[in-house]
């Protein structure tokens, strides 16, 4: 039980992600989480303003159920399967974060500066989270998939388009962390 309550090492987590993709494929479905965002837009009536959202979203209900499950899984994991949710990142990262003014690296799961209680009273933080989310949503649909759809499912199917997308993911992430973070934090 103690092993479960500790953070799971990469060599357990990675194979379990492959297992999740395998189960979904064997159920006749696909592993791709960002499609849900399009489905939610369609349910919200976005079909009235763009053709892109006029599709049979009911056929995508299974994926929304997976997403609801992921919410429940997060609740179960933090409340029943974790002693201490602090993420032990490398000392180098902890030091680099301190220079940005993020002081809880190594002692929390998420940085309080972005995900703590006080966030809702900071316009700047709200804006950063909103822009981050916007880029994720826009980029995922433009690229036709996210980490699950391209980096796991697409690359598993040896797709060159997915390789281009994943190289793009990393180029964008490197640009953000190395060049834009020093400007915004």
């Amino acid at each position: 039980m103690d092993k479960i309550l500790q953070p799971w090492p990469w060599y357990v987590s990675g194979p379990l992600i492959a297992l999740i993709m395998a189960i979904l494929i064997l159920l006749g479905k696909r592993f791709g989480m960002s499609s849900n965002l399009r489905t939610i837009c369609a349910i919200g009536g976005a079909g009235k303003v763009a053709d892109f959202f006029r599709f049979d979203w009911k056929a995508q209900r299974w994926n929304l159920i997976v997403a609801i499950g992921a919410v429940l899984g997060g609740y179960i994991a933090i409340n029943f399967l974790s002693n201490d949710a602090a993420v032990t990142i490398s000392q180098d990262s902890i030091e680099a974060l301190k220079e940005l003014g993020i002081t809880d690296g190594g002692s929390a799961y998420m940085p309080a500066l972005l995900f703590g209680e006080g966030v809702f009273s900071s316009t700047k933080t709200i804006l950063l989270l909103l822009v981050g989310g916007f880029l994720v949503g826009f980029g995922a649909r433009y690229a036709g998939g996210c980490t699950s759809g391209h980096a796991i499912s697409g690359l598993s199917n040896l797709q060159l388009p997915s390789l281009i997308a994943v190289i793009g993911f990393f180029a964008g992430g490197l640009l953000m962390v190395h060049f834009i973070f020093p400007l915004i934090f």
Binding site: I65, Y142, L158, G172
Partner: protein
């Protein structure tokens, strides 16, 4: 019955995302600084097994548990959409520290500011739908 199996897969996925720390903003930051092997180990091992599994399904013509044919379609080849869309996604992934799967997990784990990220992601999806025909693909 089928819905229940999707729900269970989702719960399992949410637990794995949280316990692997792939849902942690800190892990994503550390990954983009190349300061730990953790995230590369997760993605790399998932991918290695994923390739073996996917090629096995394709070559053996494996059927789904419901006896239906499994067709794993190829992605349409182009460059602009994957490169530009990919970079934009990466910028957001680095900033918010969460991709679409972990967003749901973090909501369940009680990090309420993730709601702002999810709202932003829905706005981004909507914006793409509106601009789709004017963007290079």
């Amino acid at each position: 019955m089928r819905s229940l199996s999707y729900l269970l897969v989702g719960i399992f996925f949410g637990i794995v995302m949280f316990k692997s720390e792939a849902a942690s903003w800190f892990r994503i930051y550390e990954m983009f600084r190349f300061e730990a092997f953790h995230m590369y180990g997760i993605i790399g091992s998932a991918l290695l097994l994923g390739i073996v599994f996917t090629q096995w399904v394709k070559r053996k013509g494996v059927k789904s548990v419901y006896g239906e044919k499994i067709s794993i379609v190829d992605k349409k080849m182009s460059f602009a959409r994957y490169a530009i869309g990919g970079v934009l996604f990466g910028l957001g992934w680095g900033l918010a520290g969460a991709c679409p799967g972990p967003m749901y997990t973090l909501l369940g784990a009680g990090f309420l500011p993730i709601l702002v990220v999810i709202f932003g992601a829905l706005l981004g999806t909507l914006a793409y739908g509106l601009l789709k025909n004017r963007l290079p693909h």
